[in-house]
């Protein structure tokens, strides 16, 4: 009896274990189960495929694997998309790395003119959805291979070749532009923390600057550079929106678009194969990163209070350097956003005559288009989609942020190390899984009722849950790092005066962590608003959101209207990011590194 009473009292005042186990079960269901189902689907006969596999539904089969890896079709349906994926991922990673590292050095280590402004301006592409650039590109370079409205270049009477308009080249260029800010942030931050005294010590010993770079700076920067490139590569493997917009006209397929097409044509088994391959590449890449980070920690000498980054004088190189930086800003920000903006106020793209300009696509009435009679800002469909986006993504981010802080709490406070480890790993796992594969996994798991859970497909719930799962890596990292910095004293002190667990959470932990919570909510919100793959797979017309709305407008060839929506999405993402910076006072780079 006494034992019962004592454990009951301790459950009320310290339910860390119980909460931890509940969280573990929840994430097992939300994250592990869908991924497990993907592998199951890959190896069992899917409904409708009985004749092909010559087994019953649900029986084991290697049909899908064989078809993908070693059939007459393999070259077209698997190997070519795989090569395309690897090519665009590696080339864009290397290009972004080379350009981004150079610019980071200019911004952090030289007296580059206007570097304060440039270091904000050059980061902007990172805050914009990648497919913004894809749409801008088509608006500029679209040719007559595809019907509909002409591109700007066509408007000048030129015909851009297919290789410039669609496929690998524009995809690589866009992914490079989108990733350069990521390199600037990560490498720039590492450069900033690199103590100049390390270089000065070498200089005192007579080393020339070439030698110092080679023997001191480069080796010390290597972990940051490699880590940035692996993260970019893993991200690029799963990139869906850019090849989706630019690849279609020339049948340029990547693993992500193949996966989408397989789902669209009811080939769940093949979709599972693509998802598994994308996941495998992601897991391998990030395991390499984790392993290298562990290696590099051994000589983590960077930092220290006295650390100071001295700037080199550019001298006569000032003009070319500034020109380079401004060009990058023009190509990465001014050109795409300007093109989109311009396209939305012109009836016919590329014709610069006075009567061709109009604000009708923003605020017009009685437009000549069939499905859209009003300008976007006056259209109910837009505001409904915007409200759906904000509501679904907002709710998901709120849930993710709160869960992230709870995960942080359990990871730091749990008396069981295995539980802390398991939660940390599971919540990080979606990072290894590209959104498109994750969405496929969710479709597999929640398309039909399972146990007490009804079929969620077609409801906002599936989207909401997928968003929560997809954003848990950011949210749980934010939560863990915030909780690690908060000693247990403040909570123990509340406990000593008799505050129960829920009261401690409500009155002590959450109020103290409200800054961290805001970041843990806003980061997922921005990345959710920008995202495409989850929405395109899981949203149905009843839950129209901004992303699907704009892609539908693209399909209808309502380019101007589509671009208005995209600009609005960019505006939300940009505003949100600036809001985070305002709230935390910390730079985005610190958020990325935690």
């Amino acid at each position: 009896m006494a034992r019962l009473r004592s454990s009951g009292a301790s459950l009320r005042s310290d339910p860390t274990r119980v909460v931890g186990l509940v969280l573990l079960a929840f994430f097992g269901w939300l994250i592990v189960a869908p991924l497990f189902m993907v592998f199951a689907d890959m190896l069992t006969t899917q409904p409708g495929d009985e004749a092909r596999t010559q087994t019953g539904t649900g029986a084991f089969t290697d049909y899908y694997l064989t078809r993908a890896f070693s059939s007459r079709m393999s070259q077209i349906i698997f190997y070519r998309p795989l090569m395309n994926t690897l090519t665009i991922a590696s080339v864009s990673t290397v290009l972004a790395l080379v350009i981004g590292t150079g610019v980071a050095w200019l911004l952090v280590r030289t007296d580059l003119m206007g570097r304060a402004w440039l270091s904000i301006g050059l980061i902007i592409p990172f805050m914009l959805p990648a497919w913004t650039f894809a749409l801008a590109w088509t608006t500029l370079f679209k040719n007559s291979t595809v019907g509909g409205q002409p591109g700007f270049v066509q408007g000048f009477g030129l015909q851009p070749p297919d290789w410039l308009a669609y496929g690998a080249v524009p995809t690589i260029v866009i992914m490079t532009i989108n990733n350069i800010p990521f390199v600037i942030l990560l490498v720039g931050n590492a450069l900033r923390k690199l103590d100049s005294q390390l270089e000065e010590a070498a200089r005192m010993l007579g080393a020339r600057s070439g030698l110092i770079s080679r023997r001191i700076v480069v080796p010390l920067m290597r972990p940051a550079v490699l880590s940035a490139s692996l993260l970019m590569f893993a991200d690029a493997i799963g990139e869906f929106s850019v090849p989706y917009v630019l690849g279609l006209p020339v049948q340029f397929e990547t693993l992500a678009t193949s996966l989408y097409r397989a789902i669209g044509t009811q080939q769940n088994g093949m979709a599972a194969v693509f998802a598994a391959v994308v996941m495998a590449i992601g897991v391998i890449t990030l395991s390499i990163d984790t392993w290298m980070m562990r290696e590099s920690r051994r000589y983590a000498i960077i930092g220290g209070k006295g650390a100071m980054a001295r700037r080199s004088r550019l001298g006569r190189a000032q003009i070319p350097a500034v020109t380079l930086a401004l060009t990058l800003f023009a190509v990465g920000v001014v050109l795409p956003l300007g093109t989109l903006l311009l396209s939305t106020i012109m009836h016919v793209p590329g014709r610069f005559t006075a009567e061709n300009f109009t604000f009708a696509y923003w605020v017009g009435r009685d437009l000549p288009t069939i499905a859209l009679r009003d300008g976007i800002l006056l259209s109910d469909v837009f505001w409904e989609a915007a409200w759906n986006s904000v509501r679904i993504v907002g709710l998901a981010s709120l849930a993710a942020g709160t869960l992230g802080l709870l995960v942080g709490y359990i990871v730091v406070r749990s008396p069981w190390r295995w539980l802390a480890m398991a939660l940390r790993q599971i919540t990080f796992f979606p990072y290894l899984v590209p959104g498109i594969a994750f969405a496929a996994a969710f479709l597999v798991l929640f398309a039909q009722p399972r146990g007490p859970i009804p079929a969620l497909y077609g409801t906002p719930w599936i989207l909401l849950l997928a968003l929560v799962a997809d954003q848990m890596p950011f949210a749980s990292r934010a939560g863990i790092s915030a909780m690690t910095q908060l000693g247990s004293d403040v909570e123990d002190a509340a406990r000593m005066v008799g505050a129960g667990w829920f009261q401690r959470m409500r009155s002590i932990i959450f109020p103290i962590q409200k800054g961290a919570l805001a970041v843990g909510v806003l980061m997922p919100f921005i990345s959710g608003i920008k995202g495409v793959s989850l929405f395109i797979m899981l949203a149905v017309p009843s839950t129209d959101v901004l992303t699907t709305f704009s892609l539908r407008l693209v399909d209808y060839d309502y380019t101007q209207a589509a671009n208005v929506v995209v600009l609005m999405i960019s505006l939300i993402a940009l505003g949100g990011t600036l809001l985070i910076n305002r709230i935390t006072g910390a730079s985005l780079a610190q958020g990325l590194e935690s």
Binding site: V490, A493, R495, M496, Q503, I512
Partner: protein
């Protein structure tokens, strides 16, 4: 009566050596007891177990004769119902609440009426002399003010036992003296039993009525300040307490043999005096410490300098030959570090003057 009985208390974290290892002692009702030991000795774990923030692995803690933690019987009273207050070393003030809110929080949790709560908060603010700071946030307070708020927050609930974690260590020298007096006053006024932990012997000696010396998770000695200073029960206690540190002649060393014992000998620096006859030595250095002096003496048979401390300015210079008076208060410890005889031994002059 809030007396705390600790019996065979052990705490293990994982497979490592226990943080607290079979500790037994009694905190007398109304006493001001200090748990003293070097950092990492398990003293904070011990305090957290008394508070109820850690659960014992073995043994028992009883407050007022009621077992509050007894793993064998499956008894455990959570901290909130133990009637024990704890002031953290970092003070752990909630940074998002004002001073007033910090103090009132516990009262709110206990569902005290608004009126009574206000009165109690005002009373605590008056007692701890922090009037005028009610609306400030912890970050706007000095270290000493923060500590007063932390004390007020804890004392507001009138705990039977007050636990303090390193109460003076975060304060500067002037404030330490002041808070020392303040804590003594609170002890008198509230009449509570106070237990505090510290690694600072000055803090322990000046505040505590009783001191429990802990090292490597074990209780080495429990007694009054004078007890443990005059009759250290263990070699560790002799070495840990006293400034400058006690002189040690290891068992079997030339000096120990000369003093006529096969045990380890310890000799307090303040009982070392100069005389006309005795041990020949040479002055190595004279170090003024402000009001007192430490003299380092070279003995022919001993490598480390013999320390002598004195409150009178020594009229000697480095290099000068002197003679040390035969020791009158030596402590002897056996190979296991246990004290040999209950009283400090003295030595006949002949033993030393023999060649």
């Amino acid at each position: 009566m809030p007396q705390i009985d600790i019996t065979h208390l052990t705490k293990r974290f994982g497979a490592d050596a226990p943080a607290v290892d079979d500790v037994s002692f009694t905190v007398e009702d109304g006493s001001f007891t200090c748990i003293l030991g070097p950092s990492g000795c398990g003293k904070s774990t011990l305090l957290r177990m008394i508070a109820g923030l850690e659960r014992a692995s073995e043994g028992e803690i009883a407050v007022d004769g009621t077992v509050v933690d007894g793993p064998r019987q499956g008894l455990f009273t959570p901290p909130e119902t133990r009637g024990v207050g704890l002031v953290f070393q970092s003070y752990a003030l909630w940074p998002h609440m004002t001073v007033e809110d910090n103090i009132a929080f516990g009262l709110k949790v206990q569902r005290m009426s608004t009126q009574a709560r206000k009165a109690r908060v005002a009373e605590m603010i008056e007692t701890l002399q922090i009037g005028g700071l009610e609306r400030r946030y912890p970050s706007q307070l000095s270290g000493g003010q923060q500590q007063r708020v932390a004390l007020a927050r804890t004392l507001a609930l009138a705990p039977k036992v007050l636990l303090l974690d390193e109460p003076l260590s975060n304060l500067d020298a002037a404030l330490r003296l002041h808070m020392r007096a303040e804590l003594a006053r609170l002890h008198r006024e509230f009449g509570t039993t106070i237990v505090f932990v510290t690694h600072d012997q000055w803090e322990a000696m000046t505040l505590a009525t009783h001191i429990a010396v802990v090292s490597e998770g074990r209780l080495q000695q429990m007694g009054t300040a004078n007890d443990i200073y005059d009759r250290p029960a263990h070699r560790f206690v002799a070495e840990f307490i006293g400034n400058p540190q006690i002189n040690i002649f290891e068992a079997g060393s030339a000096m120990a043999r000369k003093l006529g014992t096969d045990m380890t000998v310890a000799w307090r620096p303040e009982t070392v005096t100069l005389a006309d006859v005795g041990l020949p030595a040479r002055v190595r250095a004279v170090l003024p410490t402000g009001g007192s002096w430490i003299v380092e003496l070279d003995l022919p048979e001993h490598r480390a300098p013999l320390l002598m401390s004195t409150n009178r300015r020594p009229d000697i210079a480095p290099g000068q030959a002197v003679t040390i008076a035969p020791p009158t208060e030596l402590h002897l410890f056996d190979a296991g570090g246990q004290r040999h005889a209950s009283d400090p031994i003295s030595h006949p002059l002949e033993a030393l003057t023999q060649p």
